[in-house]
Amino acid sequence: MISEPAEVSRMDCRVNGTTYTATDSMLALPLAEWLREHAGTVDVKVGCSEGVCGACMVLLDGVAVNSCLVPVIRCDGTDIHTPADVATNDPRGRLVSRGLAHADSPQCGYCVGGILCSAAGQRIPCGDPADVLDSHLCRCGGYTRHAQALRDAAADD
């Protein structure tokens, strides 16, 4: 016998250690929009809104994802960390954050939060640490300094 699909009308998740609940009309929102408008984490930036630029990257259960592509309903029971939290509380994030600052890497800074999350979520540290830039667009063209900062941070890790 086939059971009916379970109706879902709320979602609970943790954002930077604090529990939040989303209900009804919020469930179809892109996570990026919900994080900014309802969880108040405006350190999540929105660029292209279709998974290309990487500005909205967050850590979802430790995996770096484009939050513009994730519907809020997919986040039930998950642990979300935004760039500001990663830069402060994640050991690897702190290293990368320091590396980016030391290399004077950010110009406008819009892409840097996403790059930080990508670097912190890099699960298998093999190959070039700057490969995480494959998921990011920097409109200022600061790739050389970003890459150097990521390599320096990996060397210090």
Binding site: S25, S49, E50
Partner: protein, 239 residues
């Protein structure tokens, strides 16, 4: 946007929801992308079961492209998974969604045609398996749910792609080849077009290209003829 959501814990439950008008949502990368029309109406069902690990014989539809690219699957499929989109999209997008687009303009089309992949679907009348080429041409009607992709054994396979961003029309030319115990196959895909040619296991690359030339001339736009044959020749020599 007001959407009634449900959570499906198995393919059978998901199919039930789809049959009642719900849109299946898994990786959700097509949900907010401007590259696709809005796909979620007023009902949606979240596909929420754990996929089995990819193997040489097949891959679950809910496997992410990231896991597919690291999996023990035919090499051509692995290369295609690593080439698609960008790393962050690959961590979300699923094989089922990729295949369900039924697009020859995607990276996965040529490898699945070349290795002779089988698409396993669940329909209201039960489970069914059909060749990927038939599925690509619309071989299964709605409602249905792609549950897994099966791979026949292949000794060697490879995939090469040319992004054609500067051209109007198709933006990706994909060429894949596979060699099995009995046959060698090369598949070329671009836009809505696909070409598959097959020869004996030990067919010479030049002879395979001689068979490919009339097929791509008939099928592909003229401007893609030279790149298709050039990449096809490289793939034939790789096998």
């Amino acid at each position: 946007m007001s959407v009634r959501w449900s959570r499906a814990a198995s393919p059978e439950v998901a199919l039930d929801a789809i049959a009642s008008g719900a849109t299946p949502v898994a990786g959700a990368t097509a949900l907010y992308s401007r590259a696709f029309p809005a796909r979620v109406g007023d009902k949606a069902t979240l596909l929420a079961w754990s996929p089995a690990a990819p193997s040489a014989s097949g891959v679950d539809a809910l496997t992410t492209l990231d896991a597919l690219g690291r999996g023990d699957v035919p090499h051509a499929v692995c290369l295609a998974a690593r080439a698609a989109a960008n790393p962050s999209v690959r961590r979300l997008a699923t094989v089922g969604g990729w295949v369900s687009l039924r697009s020859a303009a995607s990276d996965i089309a040529a490898p699945l045609l070349a290795v002779g992949a089988q698409v396993r679907v669940l329909t209201p009348s039960g489970a069914a398996t059909l060749p990927y080429g038939d599925y690509l041409r619309g071989g299964v009607g709605a409602p249905h749910l792609v549950t897994s992709i099966g791979f026949p054994p292949a000794h060697r396979s490879t995939y090469r792609r040319i992004p054609l961003r500067a051209t109007p029309g198709p933006v990706l030319l994909g060429v894949a080849g596979a060699r099995t115990d009995t046959a060698t196959t090369v598949a070329v895909t671009a836009g809505t077009h696909s070409v598959v040619v097959t020869g004996d296991r030990d067919i010479a690359p030049a002879e395979l290209i001689d068979r490919l030339r009339p097929a791509v001339t008939r099928t592909l736009p003229a401007r893609l003829l030279t790149p298709a044959l050039r990449v096809g020749s490289a793939v034939a020599h790789d096998l």
